[in-house]
């Protein structure tokens, strides 16, 4: 199994982060789970070198409604980021009602690879990993 180097969760809601963190750990599919509470924190994280290397998470899960800098604003800044800061797959987390306004906006943005409904479930996470990182995992 080829674990992801790291996963970045961008969400201001600690309850969601706690749950998602737990899911990733249970699947044991990543070496590290990092969290940022808003878009700005996420940018800071991405552009801060640790031990001389930028984090460049292979998976970013992005919430929309956040203070300081929300999901859309983050994406606009993320697009302008140099390649060396950017991560891998970007998943947008939308609420269960899948607001048509958000959906159409998501379809228009090239950076977003997929969108997922909150809350993430065990089964859904497996689906996503198989879909976006094919062959890397074998969850049986």
């Amino acid at each position: 199994m080829d674990k992801l180097n790291r996963v970045l969760l961008v969400d201001d809601y600690d309850a969601d982060n706690f749950l998602h963190e737990m899911l990733f750990e249970e699947l044991d599919c990543t070496h590290e789970v990092a969290t940022a509470l808003n878009g700005q924190e996420a940018l800071d994280y991405l552009t801060s070198a640790v031990d001389g290397a930028y984090p460049k998470p292979e998976l970013i899960c992005l919430d929309i409604n956040m203070p300081v800098m929300n999901g859309w604003e983050f994406l606009r800044a993320y697009e302008k980021l140099d390649e060396k800061f950017r991560g891998g797959v970007v998943l947008m987390m939308v609420t269960t009602s899948l607001n048509p306004d958000d959906k159409s906006a998501a379809d228009g943005c090239p950076v977003i690879n997929d969108y997922i409904s909150k809350p993430l479930t065990h089964e859904r996470l497996i689906e996503l990993l198989d879909q976006h990182f094919p062959g890397r995992f074998d969850f049986g």
Partner: protein, 638 residues
Amino acid sequence: MKKPGISTRLAVLVTAIVVVTASILSTLIISRLNTLLIDAAAGELERESQMRANRFTSKVDELVRDTLLVASVPPVQGYIRAWQHAGVDPQDGTSAQVWRQRMQVILSGVIRNKPEYLQVRFIGMADGGRELVRVDRRRLGDDWRAVEPDNLQKKADRPYVQQALKLKAGQVYLSEITLNREFGRIQQPPLPMLRAATPVRDSNGALFGVIVINLAVAPRLEESGQNTSLEHRYYVVNQRGQYLVHPDPEQAFAFEYGSARTADQDFQAYSTLMSDEQAVVSETFSAKRRVVSARRVPIGAQDSGRWISMIVVDEFDDITGVARTLVSQVAIIIAVLVIVAVLIGLWLSRAITRPIEQLADAVRDLQLENAELRIPEGLPAEAGELAAALDTAISALRWRTEQLEANNRELEQFAYIASHDLQEPVRTISSYTALLSERYGDHLDERGRKSLVFVSNACGRMHALIHGLLEYSRLGKQAKPALVNFNQMMEGVQADLESAIVARQASLDVPDLPTLCVMEVEMRMLFQNLIGNAIKFARPGVSPQIWIEAQPDGPIWQFSVSDNGLGIAPEYRDKVFMIFQRLQNRKDYDGTGIGLAHCRKVVEMHGGKIWIEDGRDGGTKFVFRIAELDPLGYEDEE
């Protein structure tokens, strides 16, 4: 029933005024004209009857003078003297014969010079009133002749002779006007005649004889003295009312042939006409009206009791012929005036109504979102006020509408945000409850696990409620009305409800449905909700049967969805449309109770109403009316 427009009323009014005014005026004028014409005619008639009377009188006077003249010529006395003296005049020895001859010469002269005299005679009393000298002519226009002594007749019995003998010298007897007779028979052709006779006396005053002159009066009676432009009817009657002259020739002197007809039978005002020397009356006689002028001419002495009356008649119709011509001319003028008036009226009303119609168009074209009302030019004062008032009202409406729209947006936003933000904590509770249940359920006893189940269920319901609320608030926001074929839509609904239909063995009776411009998604949801409900709330053990009906009513369409299901009690038929209201236990029939509130909102978005009536076999019948939407009236919501 539409009230007649301004154009019609104005045109009718103007026409009526013109017609009434013209009619009144022309009636007044024409009646006045008729009166004037009749008065003028009366004057004319008077003059004519006067004229005729004068001509007759002058002739009669001439006759009288001639008679007296003849009576006074010397041969008369000469003859008398000679006759009295054995045939020889003692004065100068002239014989009676010669005196007679001289007399004849004189009489011949008279008759020669007077073509209207038929006879001039010298009659002596002796020998049975034998004519002594006679000159005559048989008819008017004939040559005169002197009658031979052998043919002289005896005339002593003649009334004119006898009457004349009663007179004093200088008096002349005038007879009645009668037809001349020969040997007892009326001479043909008829010859009206008047005799004048005067007595002749000798120097001692003893009666000797008479001088008689016969006058043919026809010319003097009949010829008219003046030219008149109107046709008058002319009569002459004697003092007994007998016709001497009549427009119908057979009536003239009819009394000589035995007719008893008199003028009082023909003239309504006969007594009036004959009472005075002259009179003019207007007669209304047997529906024919005429003016009659009569002038009385005495014949002979005033107390002779003999007279004739010249009667001149003019029919009103003839008199007023001018007026009638005028009437037809006036009628043409009135007709022309009416047409002109109508045209003017129409033009006038057009001038008034056109700006009003423009104003109406401007209001019709008005979209509340658009710029101001285009007030047309040239509005009359009252319409201008109307336009100004409309403008103010529309501005107020627009302001209000903007306010309401802002309010609505705010509410929608509020609903959206509220439900959005409500979802998150609910979701968290749900997730963690699931987590607890899965990971730590074993650590709990039965009650603990059951508690978690209740929490989880409650979360589920809350989630569904919020979802429904969100949907409700978002109804119609994105919809742009489009032409929807309801038949196709129904097929889609049936497809969506397929599993439920099959499961309950439901049957659907759908007629041919129209194609209308509506909000597609919402309309579909409406039908799906109603039909879905009908299936869901069927009687246990009874296959649900559903009937759809569609009926146009002008621009509105009325639909109904009837079922044979459980039915809804009348007291709840308003309540069910309120959001979140449920009539059944939540355990037995799932559903959040939002559906009918959705349905009502969709119906109201189409300008309609929805209500409940009795269905079949105690079921329910949902009836709703909708109007097509204007696809241009909606902007895209972002």
